[in-house]
Symmetry: C2
Subunit: 249 residues, 2 copies
DNA sequence: ACAAAAGTGTTATCGCTACACCCATGT
DNA sequence: ACATGGGTGTAGCGATAACACTTTTGT
């Protein structure tokens, strides 16, 4: 086998792939896209950001915000740009998950898509504010509509990944407003992980981690005893990390 | 903005992307490749499978086994095919991690690569057996050579992902021979997680999970008390999973 | 006899679960 | 007064970390 390869290389140069059958330019036929799973937390539930498609294919259908990557554009930067273009969101937590490469997943050609997820605090960021995009909606994560392409698969796989990560890393704070109560935080984690926690134990566990900064401020205008407001203490988290700290829920 | 878009669509059809500047076929210029991080466990250490490149670019350099995906080939199937072509490995544990899409990561053009990792038991599988590929080597994971392209980055990010997963899922068994001793298993996990365990406690924890089937056989020809041989009990694991069992180390 | 690794038992501590109870606010 | 969620204390159970000890093989 080795000989065959060497001969081929001498004759043809290096313009052939491993299998020595197809000219190299035949391989440069893919398009690359990015799809964002943007999650927000509102009214005790996780919400997914979807857009209504304004172009074929799947015109009019709900879909994840996503678009094609330019041939001269870094993948990660494309994810940032596209999310901003389609929803106006900027400077948000954005993380790659995995890629989807079924041959028939896109009707106009061979389009590989890379999944990203983004966690936003509905109070801190206003999707669709500066957006020229199609209509943008929040939909309930437990009651998703039929989405275009393979986007339902992307969402469900992303949620699995997210749930695992949420147990190990303090990413929940990305979904909360800057200042929040322990009750809100508990409700959020219950929504993400689909699990009830004991109030007393949850508070003890979280507070003992030392990740929260007490703002010395309180809720106002609530029809019950006002709760203390906390912030996520990023500096404390980073320095704990160096000492081998492990967030775990 | 909306008007501009609608006008453009009427005039030009749907052949433009979101930004309405570039004809759609300009986007189909990417190539797609797959790179495999193949790990084995041998002599108390994790080893990485690398090949010596037989073609430009980076001819002669060490690299991960990987190749271009055909335009009519599903991504996941390509990963299986390429791993088999380059190393002879078949029917092994293979899982996608993430993708790498820097513009300049590949000298011959815009090549997006998708990372996979594979765990193999050196005793059960023979890399390079039926392989026509370039030279294949095992290298120590703690002492990696300079690899081609961005492969060092891919390896280190993959190892991070693997370590997290190894704590949560019983993937370690993929690296062990069919029958193994608890001592071997402990040494493996110590190698993956870079952490020492107490022998007595490790055994108690593992055995209490009920994932191991006692083979009733023993080691032979060892210069110390022979150890009992165990197998991973996949059926037991699956049925435990359904009852909400969670592997955790 | 000794080295080397298998394999077991005990104890003391820490963490966590479950649950009960009190507190402050708006209506 | 009451509903609602905030906030705290504790008793008991269970897991496990630390360590010491016994066993079985080859040389």
């Amino acid at each position: 086998m080795k000989e065959k390869k060497e001969v081929l290389e001498e004759v043809i140069g290096h313009q052939f792939s491993a299998y020595y059958k197809i000219p190299i330019d035949k391989f440069f036929q893919f398009a690359l896209s990015v799809d964002g799973v943007v999650l927000g937390y509102h009214e005790k539930g996780l919400k997914l950001l979807v857009i209504e498609r304004g172009t074929e294919p799947h015109l009019g259908k709900m879909a994840l915000p996503g678009d094609l990557v330019y041939p001269n554009e870094d993948l990660d930067l494309a994810a940032v740009r596209i999310l901003k273009d389609l929803t106006g969101l900027d400077n948000v937590y954005l993380k790659q998950t995995k890629s989807y490469g079924q041959v028939d997943r896109h009707p106009i050609g061979r389009v590989i898509t890379v999944g990203y997820y983004s966690l936003i605090s509905v109070d801190r960021y206003q999707p669709l504010a500066s957006s020229w995009a199609d209509n943008v909606f929040w939909v309930d994560i437990d009651n998703l509509p039929d989405l275009a392409f393979d986007h339902n698969v992307i969402v469900s796989e992303t949620l699995e990944i997210l749930r695992e990560r949420a147990r190990q890393q303090p990413i929940g704070f990305e979904l909360l407003p800057k200042e929040f109560t322990l009750g809100e935080m508990q409700a959020l984690y219950e929504a993400i992980l689909n699990e009830k926690f004991d109030k007393a134990n949850f508070r003890k566990r979280i507070l003992s981690m030392g990740l929260l900064k007490d703002t010395q401020r309180m809720q106002t205008d609530v029809p019950h005893r006002p709760a203390r407001l906390y912030m996520f203490d990023k500096d404390a988290y980073e320095s704990l990390l160096k000492k081998g700290f492990n967030f775990e829920l």
